[in-house]
Symmetry: C2
Subunit: 391 residues, 2 copies
């Protein structure tokens, strides 16, 4: 069968795989390397069969111990379908292998607690792999200042306009401002939720989450009804850092979840960026610390972000804004000659020489060129600054 | 004769040296390496005699050409005395050899236009060498925002309180805020002026300059009546950078004199620091660029400045401010056990195990310790979170 471009192809021919992945997503908390390796080795169906039969390493069995008696996979999948939530698994076309490769690499290298997800519960109208192909994370404090919210929204708007997807955590404050800025630019945005998608946390963002799902995606590693336990935020943060090409922290207090996302990004070898703010704001302490400690690059606008994360040459930052003054093109000698002239009165080249400290021969050499450039004029009483050249 | 401690000793036994140095300060613009080497080689008296007789290298003669016919040294010294301005020369006790050594070193290494001063015109009640023994430059834009002015004043106040001298250029904006912050802390401050000290530029700071001279110093490389030509600001900036152990830029637009001072400091091998600000402020573009381009270290407060410039161990920055939450000391397992408990209802260890994903044996191992720490309590109906441990 020909599949329309952009269509989501769910592997309907492997219901046993879907059930096994759904079972795993409830039975074990995500991120664990041993479970990940066990599932990779035996495949999800056999891995689940072995875990439920007690035929797995103790370290793996322990992690699922309290939950392995249950099997709510059929219920979870039905409930998800009812809520327009789909389970995306590594066996599906839309599985974002590229976006998750940094987690696989770090796990292979022995980094703890950063294993790739075993499955993702997803709500929204995009293919997951397409949405994450060019993604940048914009994260920060929930207690954002008006300054931080504005900067996050502007940054999100501007990267979205250049066809990058903003990924964030859906929280109040900076996360929400980032998602809203992306939506304002008409682009998709992706919220990675800590807890299930039936009632994504925080409840106060329910309308925002609906708008995100209408053009982008909500993503979770947990079945729809799982509550957002605190440790789930930390596990979730690794996923935000992993699926984005780079992470921008907009405002963060000295200790914050945004900093944890930044540290994950650093550990995964991705660029970490931080937006400075007033030193008088406690909500910029975290970003300033990241910059001071060389854990983040200072960024002030979208072009600087894309310069760091974009493919080579795609998005160079404009040069810093600068105004050019008319006198700037002059040689130092010519500038000193002009400085040595009085504001209005005409003067002799000798007087200019004394005032400027430039030898009179050099003054005489300069003046005709300065006249051509419109800085000075010759009068019967001597040389005079033109009105337009006065400071 | 015994000289009282801190007294200024002017070498009255060498009036010829003073006149020669005064003559040089008018005849040649400061900073030139060839003139500096020529004077160093022949001594000031013989060097001036040779220059006036045309008996010097062409490159040296050219620099003084337009002015070498004059000798206003006696007049300049008398005028200075009348204005309580003294000429300090390398032959005087208070000459700040240490503070100027970076200029001598850079000149010896072939850097252009950073030669040490040939003499300094000084007004104020401190010995020059003492005032500059522990100095930090605080510079920035004239068009300072209220934010920048406040930060500059606070920074100046705080470093002054720790017995560092604030050096700046006496300009409107950040410079003035720095001087005022130092004065508010009761400390001396040093203004390095571009142009003569008879009417230091800008005239609107006349009252501030009087206050500075009452406890600190005004310094210039030019005789008292010399106007503040534009190029003199750039030459002056090398001196600010040189006499300070480090330079802090508080606010600066994309192109600014403060940036030139920072680049001088970098060239002289001194720490350059920059204070971030809102990315929405054009007056923080310059400081953000310095940080982005790794030309400056981001600093947010006095302790961070002194950590970079102070003698080792004298002034370590405090650790970043951070609040500690009661749950922070707990193991990840204990935190997950707490997260797995409902807000109010008592529950069984089995239910906690299912909710938290922690094996029941580990839950049972955790609970007594959590009870001792006051997080949970055992009731006849099961384990319950204590009110103080609820989120």
């Amino acid at each position: 069968v020909a599949v329309p471009d952009g269509a989501v192809v769910i592997a309907p021919w492997r219901p046993d795989v879907r059930h096994a992945r759904a079972w795993l997503s409830r039975a074990v908390e995500p991120g664990n390397a041993e479970v990940y390796r066990f599932v990779s080795r035996y495949g999800p169906v056999d891995a689940v069969r072995r875990m439920r039969a007690g035929n797995a390493p103790d370290s793996v069995l322990r992690l699922a111990a309290a939950r392995s008696g249950q099997d709510r996979s059929a219920h979870d999948l039905a409930e998800a379908a009812r809520l327009s939530i789909r389970l995306v698994t590594p066996e599906d076309d839309e599985w974002p292998d590229d976006a998750l490769s940094s987690l696989a690499d770090a796990t292979a290298a022995g980094v703890d607690n950063v294993a790739p997800p075993l499955a993702l519960w997803v709500r929204g109208v995009r293919r997951l792999d397409h949405a994450l192909a060019r993604a940048v994370a914009i994260v920060g404090t929930r207690a954002a200042t008006p300054y931080g919210s504005r900067v996050a929204a502007d940054l999100a708007h501007d990267v979205t306009s250049r066809e990058w997807t903003v990924v964030s955590g859906g929280a109040y404050g900076i996360d929400g401002a980032g998602h809203r800025g992306a939506l304002a630019a008409g682009g998709p945005t992706v919220a990675v939720i800590a807890g299930g998608l039936r009632a994504p946390y925080p409840a106060g963002h329910a309308a925002l989450f609906d708008r995100i799902a209408d053009s982008g995606l909500l993503i979770s590693e947990w079945p729809p009804d799982c509550p957002p336990h605190r440790y789930r935020f930390l596990v979730r943060n690794r996923l935000i850092a992993a699926v984005a090409a780079g992470t921008v922290v907009v405002e963060a207090s000295a200790r914050s979840g945004a900093t944890s996302t930044a540290l994950h990004a650093e550990r995964l070898g991705k660029p970490v960026m931080a937006v400075p703010g007033p030193v008088t704001s406690v909500l910029s302490i975290g970003t300033h610390n990241l910059i001071r400690e060389h854990q983040a690059t200072l960024v002030t606008r979208a072009s600087e972000v894309l310069e760091l994360i974009g493919p080579m040459g795609e998005s160079l930052a404009e040069p810093p804004r600068s105004e050019r003054r008319p006198r700037d093109g002059l040689s130092p000698v010519a500038q000193r000659v002009l400085d040595g002239m009085p504001a209005r009165a005409p003067v002799s080249p000798d007087a200019i020489a004394v005032e400027s400290g430039i030898p009179v021969v050099d003054v005489l050499r300069c003046l005709p060129a300065l006249e051509l450039d419109g800085f000075v004029e010759a009068t019967s009483a001597g040389w005079r600054l033109r009105a337009s050249a006065r400071r």
